[in-house]
Amino acid sequence: MADQIEWVALSIFVFFFALVTVMGFFAARWKSGPVSAHLDEWGLGGRQFGTWITWFLVGGDFYTAYTVIAVPALVYAVGAYGFFALPYTIIVYPFVFAVMPLLWKTAHANGHVTAADVVHGTYNSRGLELAVAITGMVATMPYIALQLIGMGVVIKAMGLSGELPIIAAFIVLALYTYSSGLRAPALIAFVKDIMIYIVVLVAVVIVPAKLGGYAAVFAAANDAFAAKGGATGLVLKPSQMLPYATLALGSALAAFMYPTP
């Protein structure tokens, strides 16, 4: 890999990283309530995010390095099998629409902050509460690892090498999250969501236009998978159909159980 520094990409990255960092620290004062000592303020933004902020926050939190790096990489490598992320992110919404209002009502009425609080409040079991809290934290670890690997790939692509840039980036991220709580990702989500829309437009319009249209892209992919062989292809092998469906369903059921919003 060439270690040539991409100055244009690096400048844009540094600009947006600085912007997001300033916003992250500034977020602590955004819509801040009278009592900043309570965990509600840090963990739930003072329970005052309405529909629009929540919509941006879910968008910013749900579509991550997993969406823009890991899934495309998997589809590029194996084809149809990696596409399970699409049915997953579709069926998660009717499920969440049915379940989350019930959870919200319980949490709102009883002042719960985390899923573990709700479980303790509903079932009055410290053991179950602890199990939910620990499962949440353990399950988040590989997810964070995935985000870090994604960040590492992006930083390498700009020509920076070594672990130092990613450690610095992570410390800055951790500091403003510590200082601002949920307000930081909520405010940054506005920038992030707009960037994702730009990526989507480029991927849907400009990339196919440069490559000769969607049919040409799929034809080239088909040839590549035919040459590659193995369990790859534009459609699933018969043995992949059941794993495809269970991956989609399992991911959808788990998606909103992460302690991150």
């Binding site: 529909t51 069926i91 009717p94 049919a215 799929f218 159909m241």
Partner: protein, 71 residues
């Protein structure tokens, strides 16, 4: 109306139904455009379920919305 929310599960988890290249649409094999089509369809289904909530669950939610908009 809540049964509408089950349709995406049926449509997307019954994989053998859509695991084919033909018919294509705008150059997309059936496997891809069929699943992508469920994105807007599911949005409409959720909207229909939301519009037709039973009255006993509606007031609390609308009160909360008004309160959060108030200041």
């Amino acid at each position: 109306m809540w049964v509408l929310l089950l349709l995406p599960f049926v449509g997307l988890l019954w994989v053998p139904f859509y695991n084919s290249l033909e018919p294509t649409l705008f150059g997309f094999p059936f496997f891809y455009w069929y699943q992508l089509a469920w994105v807007p369809i599911t949005s409409v289904l959720i909207w229909l379920a939301y519009r037709n909530r039973t009255p006993d669950e509606a007031p609390q939610i609308s009160q909360k919305l008004e309160r959060s908009k108030a200041p």
